[in-house]
Symmetry: C2
Subunit: 230 residues, 2 copies
């Protein structure tokens, strides 16, 4: 066992396995987000737009590198920890490939926000060290303002686009929840982590319900900030 | 005129225009490199390979951000300064799209090395502030080792690939020189910058010849490190 795990709850094998699964999923999500944002930057209409999306991609890479190094410090091969989530993120991105630049912007904002909310919810049930790592990883990188103002500009110029983007936002959430559900169903270590243990609180059905209510509410808030009906 | 330009030579309009052109070209090159490396990361055979190429892309973005902010501090719109070089980098990348992962690796290493050498040569003729900015931007980000060992592994496993990659390296240099030549021919400010001024040394034909000799020699050294004939 690596030095860092002593006295943090991580010395319990089942808990450690769950945390490694969670961080592996998060790391894979960040690396996938880097890839897709960089890909979307290609379709940016101006150099400035391209640079802004590239900045978001580079920030996601920074998050990934931090999670990867932390997994390494737990004595784990980070790439092996990420591997089980390959299909999940591939499927998510295959089902939510933006058709154009406005869809790329909405996906960057809504997808990032939803993922961050979800991981923050889960972090509340973890040991302080892991929680702080996750919260630091998810810290806002300050690019949201750019996306919000660009989407609002686009809708002001072409009001019809607003309706399509509102549907797009709903599709993104639906796909994200459906993939999250597959992951929890398939990964025992992860569902055990969320369920808690004898001396560790977890989520029961009622708290899962409240979590989904909060996620949905925050999503609606983000759509409203973009000027879209939720 | 911005505060930063006083007493650096940048108060001479022709010199400032040339420096802005050079930094605009460099900034565009870094942003294009980010895009292409991120694109190439998609075809990486393993998550580890993907992460290594993504790290190189993120480093290029960091360089770009630094140049963009410096152009801003000169009182210049960085995106306007970059715009004239759009076609050059588009053409270069369109003519050198890697057919597979080994070609991506060689392009990352050879292209990055050649560009860095060229900008270092030019930096020698500039005011100290601009020179230091360029040298800091080009500082090795420590990812070369990864590319070298991966390319050597690939050639050891499939010796036939070595011949194809050697040709590929030659094509990359040819395209880079041909694009560089178009830029210098089209951008008067840039060619004046390189030619020097009354109180500022520049490149004459002999020094241009020596520069090309050094660029070619360094390129051959890089090919040798990859295990490829130059």
């Amino acid at each position: 066992m690596a030095e860092e795990t002593v006295g943090t709850g991580l010395e319990e094998p089942a808990y450690l396995t769950g945390v490694v699964d969670l961080l592996g999923a998060l790391a894979h999500g960040e690396l996938s987000a880097f890839e897709r944002l960089a890909e979307d930057a290609v379709s940016a209409p101006t150099l400035r737009d391209k640079a802004e999306l590239a900045a978001m991609a580079a920030a996601e890479f920074g998050h990934f590198a931090r999670l990867r190094d932390h997994l390494g410090s737990l004595g784990v091969d980070p790439y092996a920890a990420m591997e089980p989530f390959h299909a999940t993120f591939d499927n998510f991105h295959a089902h939510t490939a933006p058709a154009d630049w406005p869809e790329s912007l909405v996906k960057a904002y809504v997808g990032d926000g939803l993922a961050a909310d979800f991981y923050r919810e889960v972090a509340a049930y973890l040991d302080p060290g892991t929680r702080e790592l996750i919260l630091a990883t998810l810290a806002d990188t300050g690019h949201s303002e750019f996306v919000v103002s660009r989407v609002r500009e686009i809708i002001a110029e072409q009001p019809a686009v607003g309706g399509r983007l509102a549907l797009w936002g709903r599709r993104l959430v639906g796909e994200a929840l459906s993939q999250a559900q597959v992951v929890v169903a398939e990964r025992d270590a992860l569902s055990s982590l969320l369920a808690g243990g004898v001396d560790r609180p977890g989520m029961d059905l009622a708290s899962i319900g409240r979590m989904f209510a909060r996620l949905t509410e925050n999503h609606a808030g983000r759509m409203a900030r973009l000027g879209l009906s939720p």
